[in-house]
Point group: C2
């Protein structure tokens, strides 16, 4: 690979940094439109009930109320990511299925009026028996949460590769453990907000934080019974997504409905409580893992059964049912493996995608491997090196791994924290642990047509890139600018962006499943190359040279090897304009994956074109009197293929340690009163702040994937997952007990220490 | 030509009609942005003066004033359409050159404060001798209005083809007349308004009625010393242009300057007075025409000298100096012709482009031909038929005429009004007259790169067209929609438009010089064809057919001749998405014209790829007691090549009769006190209303130009010009005297009748 890059691979500040730190960035909640109304949602105060009566007449008569909507105002369209999981009405007509579900909504001239109107809406509910855990839900005799799903089983994923029983028989050591975990959650910096307006032509325009506007526009057009052409979902500054903004939200629909009924723009801002309850969560899991290894610790067979608490609707959950397993099979080499994953409906908030899939799954796999190693006298790092995936291998479900720097990640992270020196030699209550994981760079589901980009040259030689890619905090805008600047030899400030607008930009799979750099970056690169070729054809004629001999650098087009034979880029652009040959370019890219209808319940084939790999090593100190964990140092190594902007990639690693390790394994969890979340706000739910964070060593490993732009693939999520695993592994090392319920909060740690002491006393 | 069109050539309502009649359309004056300020301009109250002192300190101290700007705040950049006509500072520093010129501007929290602030700006001017007519200006001994232009001569166009003197010698009859006319003007429905804002990245965003955003962005970026990439001029509803919005306006620049200085959005709305004085006008002309004809009335030689009042700056005027002549030489065949056109600076408002170039020029040519015919005993229609241009001929300055339906226009218009029956046989004070003219479809100057369009297919089979074309009232949006719908077999409502935005859309020459259908329509058509080819490649594989055998109609792709072998369009689009072959298209088109630097002062070569031709016949009745003219009937026939939407084309013809004939020849003119316009508002300046209009017979003649989209070329302007000529010709016929000063207002008509009576008495 040619490493002579000018902008790629460089640490340059992000194009959106200034607007974020100055507060100039406009989020949906900041948007002001003339005559705009305030929208508010009336929600269920029970977890499961039949809707008997919703009387909005008093609310409608309140002065300043411009529209009230209920299920009666809808076409009754059901939404689901897949055709066979369409089970959610955005405004249910017959039943509510979780505490906080939408029942009605109002649009009024101000917030006070809207809130007063909510109080005036009379809702009569006939409560139904509710279930709050997967096991209770499966055991329930009904009524089922959805009539179509007996025993509340939403999805059953079944994978069976090789001969698992024979593998166990041949194993030197077999161990089975069960791990549990609360929901993972995401506290976006920006609570959800949406603004909708209709123009006189009946066209809907919507601004909303989202991971993919095209993914929002389609279900909106279905639910509103409008042609897709008339639904425009637009880019706006976004304060985080983490998987929680991957799909349409009922609020998007409700806001549009209110705007249509009132014939005025409507803004709907979620409270922090709503943002927790009504913007998806990760799944709570119960995972039983049975692993057989040979004398050297190599995994011969693994059998996993996982029950996932899906909450009240399908959402993106059916995909999430296999993701933890797939991540595991990518990271760990094994020939015989069985997986039964069940996603179960409960009367709790809806669970879907999250940046950190399956805390109890991944942590369980790694903690169990630590225990197996312990019995064999093999340290955790060696256990992982012996089982780590290598490039060129095929996963059990059939994906060829094109590039893999996992071994290098493990070695570098371990070396950074001085693993060999420290492991087994730390003072009491100190521990060191490791976790490894692997993440897909784009899923086959939902990626329709990949990403397409257009470039046009402006008269002064600057360019505008048109791309569907969303930046929801990860730096995609910066990525696009660097790619285009690199290919066109332009300073970064000469690249303008138009992104993420269903009307203006072409299709893009959306910034989820870690695909934006791979698909969107490749599309932008190809568009730039296409435009460059047009430039070269024009310049070649004027320079009397072969287009193949030209190079573009520093806004000049040179004949290679002849520094005096050049034309300024601006001149070539103008020559093109005068000659009627405007310079523009088009590029599109779709990852090479298998598309199969049965993928959700039985994934097999090429799942993703590229896979990233991460290893995190953490050193912790536990206070045996308080159960508090102090994290001393973390080394986070990831094979991201190639770092287009190392500064941004390292920022991703750091954020991943915060979310996956510091928050995910130590402090972040919800507690419940039946179906009601009792800690929905930051007052009771502890998200780590900068001051809480340990010292982090981000380590970038570059395997240069053959398919990625400049070799790049996913960056960050492999760390979010392996950080949780490393924290868990280190705490177990520190206290000498393996806690099997996550996160590892002080009460559980104290309890574990006490239990160990009691056992030692025996 | 295949006449089997579905949408093209059909009378369908315009896409923008609803928003216009309901008032939903948002014009620049309607736009509201948070924290937006009101801008107002301090103007000169004298016609010519040195600026001695501008003291803004009191205005700046007024509460609510957020910015005050003068020439001191500018970079002193001079603007002109051509490099050698850069003579205008948007906020002059040293001199003012006409009554009403910009001196300073303020931005304040409301209009009252802004107006109060204007009063507080102290301006000290040292008055200079001023000149108000071209002849005075040329005779003046200085100081010249611009030091660089001695004797105030801005441009001298000199054309000399064939042997004019010999032509006169060989003529049977030679006649010389001098015609004069006041300025033509345009009363746009929407007075000019502009909104400008800067974002935190220093990017300028501007909404302003204009004929070509790319033509505004470039000079703005020069004057503001900003990269073009950071200047975005955006589409907004536009209430007419007529040539008056062809270039940057000082107000655009001033509004941006105020927004930059105040760091807040600024809106600047012109009063009706400002819209008259500061938004260009047509030129006032003094034209001497000498024509020699043979016994059959064929023109053997013509010599024209024209003095044009250019006002205080060059603006687009240098181009306008040759346009009346070029229109004439296109319409009338002649071998020997000489033209001397002088554009002279005066201390009056700036004159530029107008839909009706050279009232006294074109009307003079036709009135003189009527008189020559009278002496020869040949009626005006026959005189025109004998001299009318034919397809395949070359104009004196060297343009090949690719298509020409002029003879058919003359014949059809004459027949419609029963010319043969009526001419010479009308009752007293009734008259019938004819005018013919020809207009370019696109000028070589300013058309840089022609037009470029992009199309993308949305998931539901609808498309979005991205084109730089502006619709400023003539129906360009509708034209684009019909073209794309036709090529893609889509209902009109499935075509969305993104147009006229320097950031979003590619280069376009702008909707002036009558080029938008020819260039923009062709580009849109080519983009649609490009997208269709991609669709066909995808469909051909699935249908196992040859792409060349496919046809696209009614949202279905058929194998030609096999009505059962088809795929729904939406399905093919989705197949493309799934296969990673997104369907999009690109098209660009630049008219084939000669680009020569010396074009302005010496036009020669291919001026335009296509020319349109029009003939108007009018019948009038003059009240000899009041001088009032009642127009009984008008037949307006134009060869527009092909009418993409006959309803829209006919609307253009009707508007042209209103502007050129009814307003232009009867009621519209300005009167002056020195350099001050005394009738700048609709109270004193009579624009015809619907109730004033005669019965109009629009007649579409289709010559199917080989270069135009479906054969289309310019539509409307040939009528605006020939309507004035027809009205003048008919009045002369009615009163038996040829008035040589235009417009023909009642006072002039009464005076002419009186003069005739006196002569008859002699």
């Amino acid at each position: 690979m040619d490493k002579e890059f000018t902008y790629i691979g460089k640490r340059v500040p992000r194009v959106d940094s200034l607007s974020r730190v100055t507060g100039e960035a406009v989020f949906a909640a900041d948007l002001k439109l003339p005559r705009m109304l305030v929208g508010k949602v009336k929600r269920s105060h029970v977890a499961h009930a039949r809707i008997v009566r919703v009387d909005t007449s008093k609310a409608e008569r309140l002065r300043g109320v411009k529209a009230v909507v209920t299920g009666r105002d809808t076409a009754g369209v059901k939404w689901g990511v897949f055709r066979y999981t369409q089970d959610m009405e955005f405004l249910p007509r017959d039943k509510v299925r979780y505490f906080g579900e939408e029942i009605a909504a109002v649009a009024a001239v101000d917030e006070d009026t809207a809130l007063e109107a909510l109080e005036l809406i009379e809702v009569e509910l006939e409560e139904l028996p509710a279930v709050f855990t997967p096991l209770d839900a499966m055991a329930s005799e009904g009524p089922w949460i959805h009539d179509e799903y007996p025993n509340n089983v939403n999805v059953h994923v079944e994978i069976n590769v090789g001969d698992v029983e024979k593998g166990f028989e041949e194993s030197y050591l077999v161990r089975e453990d069960t791990f549990t975990a609360a929901e993972d959650d995401y506290f976006m910096g920006e609570p959800f907000a949406v603004v909708a307006r209709f123009d006189d032509g009946g066209n809907l325009e919507m601004w909303t934080p989202n991971a993919g506007p095209h993914m929002k526009a389609k279900p909106l057009s279905n639910a509103l019974r409008m042609p897709l052409n008339k639904v425009r979902v637009r880019k706006i500054a976004i304060g985080g997504a983490f998987g929680g903004r991957s799909e349409i939200s009922p609020a998007d629909y409700i806001c549009a409905l209110l705007a249509r009924k009132s014939a005025r723009p409507v803004k709907l801002i979620y409270t922090r409580e709503e943002n927790t309850v009504n913007v998806r969560m990760g799944h709570a899991l119960i995972t039983t893992i049975k692993t057989g290894v040979d004398r050297e610790g190599r995994v011969l067979a693994r059998d996993i059964t996982c029950y996932m608490d899906g909450g009240a609707y399908s959402s993106t959950g059916p995909i999430a049912t296999s993701v933890p397993f797939l991540c595991m099979e990518q990271a760990y080499r094994m020939e015989n493996v069985r997986y039964n994953g069940y996603r179960i409906f409960t009367n709790k908030p809806v669970r879907g995608m999250i940046r950190m899939h399956g805390r109890s799954f991944a942590c369980g796999v790694d903690l169990q491997l630590d225990r197996l190693g312990e019995e064999l006298g093999i340290d955790p790092v060696t256990m992982r090196l012996r089982n780590a995936r290598k490039a060129g291998e095929t996963t059990p479900t059939g994906s060829v791994v094109s590039s893999c720097g996992l071994t290098e990640c493990i070695e570098k992270a371990a070396e950074k924290i001085e693993w060999r020196k420290k492991y087994g030699n730390l003072p009491p209550w100190r521990g060191i642990g490791i976790g490894i994981n692997s993440v897909q760079t784009g899923f086959p589901l939902g990626i329709r047509g990949g990403s397409q980009a257009f470039i046009k040259f402006n008269e002064d030689g600057g360019v505008t890139l048109n791309s569907g890619v969303v930046d929801n905090g990860q730096g995609n805008d910066q990525m696009l600018v660097q790619v285009v600047a690199e290919e066109l030899g332009l300073p970064l400030e000469d690249v303008n962006l138009i992104t993420a607008d269903t009307e203006l930009t072409a299709n893009d799979p959306g910034s989820y499943s870690m695909v934006s750099t791979f698909a969107g970056g490749n599309a932008a690169r190809l568009a730039a190359i296409d435009a460059r070729e047009k430039l070269f054809r024009i310049a070649a004629e004027a320079l009397e040279a072969n287009p193949a001999d030209l190079v573009l650098k520093d806004r000049k087009i040179f004949v290679a090897g002849s520094p005096d034979r050049f034309l300024p880029l601006t001149k070539v652009v103008r020559m093109g304009l005068i000659q009627g040959r405007p310079v523009s370019g088009e590029g599109h890219f779709a990852p090479k994956v298998d598309h199969r209808r049965e993928w959700v319940s039985n994934p097999h084939g090429q799942l993703s074109e590229a896979f990233s790999f991460g290893a995190t090593v953490a050193e912790v100190e536990v206070d045996p009197d308080t159960g508090q964990v102090r994290v001393l140092e973390v080394a986070a190594a990831q094979d991201c293929g190639f770092a287009i902007n190392p500064m941004v990639v390292e920022g991703q690693f750091e954020g991943s340690v915060a979310m996956g390790g510091q928050g995910g394994m130590l402090t972040e969890y919800h507690f419940w009163d039946g179906g009601r979340c009792m800690n929905p706000t930051q007052l009771e739910y502890k998200v780590p702040l900068a001051a809480d964070m340990p010292r982090i060593h981000p380590i970038i490993v570059e395997s240069n994937d053959p398919g990625g732009p400049y070799g790049a693939k996913e960056a960050g999520m492999s760390i979010a997952m392996s950080a949780a695993q490393a924290y868990a592994s280190a705490i177990a090392d520190a206290i000498g007990v393996t806690i099997t319920d996550f996160p590892m909060t002080p009460d559980k740690i104290l309890e574990a220490i006490e239990k160990r002491r009691q056992e030692e006393r025996k």
